[in-house]
Symmetry: C2
Subunit: 530 residues, 2 copies
Amino acid sequence: MMTVQQVLIDGQWTTSAGTSTFQAVNPKTKEPLPGKYPISPWAEVVRAIEAASRAAAIVRDWSGDRFATFLEKFADRIDARAAELIEIANLETALPVQPRLKDAELPRTSNQLRQAAQAARDGSWTSPTIDSAPNIRSMLRPIGPVVVFGPNNFPYAFNSVAGGDFAAAVAAGNPVIAKGHSSHPGTTRILAEEAQLAATETGMPAGFVQLIYRTSHDDGKRLVSHPAIGASGYTGSRSAGSQLKEAADRVGKPIYLELSSINPIYILPGAIRERCAALAEQFASSCLMGVGQFCTNPGLVVVQAGAESEDWIRQVAERFQAAPVGTLLGPSVQNHLEAGVQTLVAHGATIVTGGASGGGAGYCCQNTLLRVTGTKFIASPAALQTEAFGNASLVVVVDSEAEFISVTQALEGNLTGCLYTANDGSDDSLYDQIAPILRQKVGRLLNDKMPTGVAVVSAMNHGGPFPATGHPGFTAVGIPASLKRFAMLQCYDGVRPHRLPAMLADKSPHSALWRMIDGKLMQGDVPAAK
Amino acid sequence: MMTVQQVLIDGQWTTSAGTSTFQAVNPKTKEPLPGKYPISPWAEVVRAIEAASRAAAIVRDWSGDRFATFLEKFADRIDARAAELIEIANLETALPVQPRLKDAELPRTSNQLRQAAQAARDGSWTSPTIDSAPNIRSMLRPIGPVVVFGPNNFPYAFNSVAGGDFAAAVAAGNPVIAKGHSSHPGTTRILAEEAQLAATETGMPAGFVQLIYRTSHDDGKRLVSHPAIGASGYTGSRSAGSQLKEAADRVGKPIYLELSSINPIYILPGAIRERCAALAEQFASSCLMGVGQFCTNPGLVVVQAGAESEDWIRQVAERFQAAPVGTLLGPSVQNHLEAGVQTLVAHGATIVTGGASGGGAGYCCQNTLLRVTGTKFIASPAALQTEAFGNASLVVVVDSEAEFISVTQALEGNLTGCLYTANDGSDDSLYDQIAPILRQKVGRLLNDKMPTGVAVVSAMNHGGPFPATGHPGFTAVGIPASLKRFAMLQCYDGVRPHRLPAMLADKSPHSALWRMIDGKLMQGDVPAAK
């Protein structure tokens, strides 16, 4: 009998009380991978919540430096165990070792942890604000234990126990309860092992980092709405996420969700005239990169009817046909992709190329390009915005400038929106009509580049209006902004000086800290009263 | 037949299409006041939404200076029409002319508008962030038309068309659809008249400021969840607010709510020993100020059992009996207050003084002090935290330090929490046990002062965990922080320079603007690449 892997609760790797288990599947072979993982019952989840609460109470007044030290140690440990992490993630996800796992995602992940550490150490992201005359002071402080639900498509960079939400929650001073994704439990286990070792080495309390692999959907809802939980982060499917959102919203618990995004691309007529082949190449490679399994995958492209656009579509189709068919992350991704394509077809889209399952190893579908007229899109905008997550995209062919506008007005919220325009200025008037409408519907507006590739820089916004996320004011990528999600605003009114957090004391805890003092942004101590 | 007042839609005072009307009531006489006000049907609300959308599109790229000019002109106009505003608000709310309406609330209101104008002009609150090498830039920008629901208890400072939410939404660059409170429509009408005149004088588009007086509850839900609405602000009862919250949450529309807060006060044993009479006086006057009709009214006070606390309770009761009974804002306030007191009694509280309706002019209840043991409080924590909005407070008498902790753990989220401690340090160890728990449950923690009196300063937090508000990261008072509620994060990735907002251009639009450029907070232009 195969051993069941242990859960990480209250500082200990512990045998789960759960009686049912699951196994990961190798998407390339469709064979189960070694290792059984437990489904945690509610009582076990409660033990994790209680341990996280105790940990939160212990670390509440710690300086950012302590969280930074943990994050940096953890990053070093991940890098040191790279070979094993790459091997298992490749088996569990079928994502290629190079360049994806080894050269891109793993370095990004440890880099994110180090960037978060820097932000924690600096602390300026907490916006310390002091009005000295009335002695009122405020700043963003830890919100409480954070639950992170990781998605299937980034085994490291969005992993519940090592990814962007984890880094942000910890840098903001919160314990994390990680809920791993069932498709890559082995990767998650190794990351959690290293997190726990780093936590021990750096003196973090038991329960600061915890991991469960799976719960029932109902227990997930109870978890995000539990009184002792501060906030949750979720990246995944719209249906499961919407249920968690409803449960958390009902009791006013912040939950940050990344649900669904088709990332519209506009290729305006002048751009197609100027650089048809280059744009076909850029679009096809962005669509098929990672088998299309990116949150920012361009699932919708809008072009104007005409011979040049037909030529562009033909060139894209040729590239789709010529490109190898990649392996999808698992059976549910394949099922959803097939269902998505069927929904699009049922509402008037036609298949340009692909459309059937198979064509590659393991779970896979042919590289699929669909098309639909602007008129039909406007008639069924909700159905034709169904996210077909994977290597499929829909071209909307509009017959007028007015239809460009109508299609844009019919769009839901998205993470990104891109506009390609001619270099000679011939598209500028159309750009000026579309961009203001698109701007309000997307978190990130791009010019002349594809949305895949999310740079981890301060100005990045990986967010956007619902259903892309649950609140358009926040980003999941981009440090320090992403930390703000896991903080609450705490004001101290007339509080005696020795009881203030160090960041709000008259004397600044370190010279680099920016604070708003009596209406002026400054570094250093509170100036002596005149 | 009495003329029905007009609604302000799309830049025009217009006869409402509504067929039903309401009248305000003078709370002191219980007589209806002159003036009939319409209940707007859904089609009229849609006209307002459409006009607001057009206005939003027009002002989208305007500089903060234009919104500032409007806000300042409006503030001047309010001050100039003070006499009329004070007369009508006094009739509609029974709040005293002096000091409340004339010396406190009206100056606060025009001051808030001017502070918001300054923040709009400066623009640093938008956190412009530029990463120059990858050419990725982001900032907070207008979220779209904002709906503001004003409460009954601040006819000016939280008024839907002139108060804090209005000022913040406009300063952030958004049109406002104001939904007035039915208890003071005449005050709201005058404020809207001045807002519209200021808007015309300063070149704001039609539909930038609009007013409807009332809708059905269902239409309110449709309004906050309408696709063209950016966000909503609501201050009022928990039951109505929860319904709006659910409707907005379902479609991912931000809604900022201030729902319910009983603002716990702890008077620790040493403090009572040191200054019993002074604390009885402070508490009684904070409780009865404005007939207890403040969001930050201290509705719950926790003391330790013993002779000194009994003396304190007796002294508070004497002051409650000696103080005149004020007039409540209206019949529903009286009904809710009576029902609240009944709920407390039904769950084990006993009446120390008051408890009956009457005792003053118009709608009123006796100044009411209740008490309950810590044990009973912990047994029915939800019921014994029922907000009895008005001149009533509940004393929880605990019998041990442990019970102080248990009571604190049982608290829901609140706007404020206060701890009074001895000056000789004898309460410090108990403070250190209670404060960390209380800290996570309140937006503003106070020492040795009552929570009534919300200073409009940058460091203020008028917010807190649910049910105090809907999200503990935001404040409704305190500029510029309150503006962030009505903004979305917009990122520009590779966008051509001439298409960027001025605040994100290489050249800074004005020398005072703070921007994060390549990881450094600075004023001035983007430094030339090395």
